[in-house]
């Protein structure tokens, strides 16, 4: 039963090898779906390109439903994974900083790596920035960040339990929300497309 590595059912070398193989798939999909094109990424915020939201929510739904079924069939015990602990205050503030970084920089860390690898010079500048930001964070950690980063501690919190509904119902509701989001963003993209130049449409590949 999974997860394999945390239960010592997979040796460390194979674990890293599988990690690299999973990474190849990740990088391939990011590039193939257009996530190395910064204009496509920024499009989510203005509505002219619905690709990001479609890929993102479909992936979340697949992972969510797949892991839910596997957990209930006893194929994986999700509680044995590195299940993210919730620290709501720093995640909210950090998320806001990332949101600003997304709009200004036009990438996020994963997409910028794929983009830089395939020759996008702006992504190389972005990655340089990410590393500089991390260095800055580390060097000022004790004075500026430590207390904030440890605040709002809630432990391992499942959102369905937190709201007070059954896991299955939450997944059902999220599926409905995702489908409605797809419809809204598709309509938004169609509206833009009708007044865009052919050059822009070709560049975005929409």
């Amino acid at each position: 039963m999974g997860p394999l590595y945390p239960q010592e059912l997979l040796n460390p070398e194979y674990n890293l090898l599988i990690g690299a193989i999973i990474g190849v798939g990740f990088g391939f999909l990011l590039e193939a779906s257009g996530f190395t094109n910064t204009r496509k990424l920024a499009g989510i915020f203005y509505g002219y390109d619905a690709t990001v939201i479609k890929v993102f929510f479909t992936a979340a739904l697949t992972g969510l439903i797949g892991l839910f079924i596997m957990h209930n069939m006893g194929i994986i015990d999700v509680t044995l994974t590195f299940y993210p602990k919730t620290f709501w205050i720093p995640t909210l503030i950090g998320g806001a900083i990332m949101g600003l970084g997304f709009v200004i920089g036009g990438f996020c860390p994963g997409t910028s790596l794929s983009a830089a690898a395939t020759g996008k010079v702006d992504a190389m500048a972005f990655i340089t920035g990410v590393l500089l930001g991390i260095f800055g964070f580390i060097f000022t950690y004790q004075t500026a960040w430590e207390a904030l980063r440890k605040s709002g501690k809630m432990g391992k919190v499942d959102i369905a339990q937190w709201i007070g509904i059954k896991e299955g119902l939450f997944i059902f509701l999220f599926t409905i929300i995702a489908i409605l989001t797809f419809i809204v963003f598709q309509k938004w993209q169609d509206k833009w497309k009708s007044k865009m130049s052919k050059q822009d449409i070709d560049e975005l590949g929409i």
């Binding site: 697949t62 992972g63 044995l80 993210p84 995640t91 950090g94 794929s114 990410v130």
Partner: protein
Amino acid sequence: MNTEKNKYMNPYVAGFFLGLLIIAAYYFAGEGLGSSGGYRDVAIGVINKVSPAYAQTNPYTAPHVADGHSPVNTWLVFELLGVIFGAILSAALYGRLKFVVGKAPHITNKKRLYLALLGGILWGIGTQLGRGCTSGLVLSGMSVNSLSGYIGLVAIFGFGFIFAFMFKKLWIKKN
């Protein structure tokens, strides 16, 4: 106009396969499919090379260098090496391997590069404070129903929409 080079995979198909990779990451490694954690490991690796003593004393880096292992010998770093290879593979197949500055047409290259650098710096800080990025915190977090992932989703995209409104001229040309 060469439209071939901008032929992208169907987003729902890509999303489905991405979801399978998230499941695989949890199943084999017990890890979320992440990105910023790998960047952090690389940054700590550099610090550890330059000054092992500092890496041992800074409370943020110390846990990563405590057991004598190299801080870059992690699952996330190997995953990111795979990402580089996978992206090149896809771009080569689609004929998209080319040095270019991606941007909205009305923005100059110089301006775009400065903004990308600045945006990157914000991500560097935000990911360490918020404990992950769009892939590890949000996407992988959502996949295991973690509240943290949904807070990240709402914060990154919620504030993103507000900031996008303020910085509209970076991406949309005024008519």
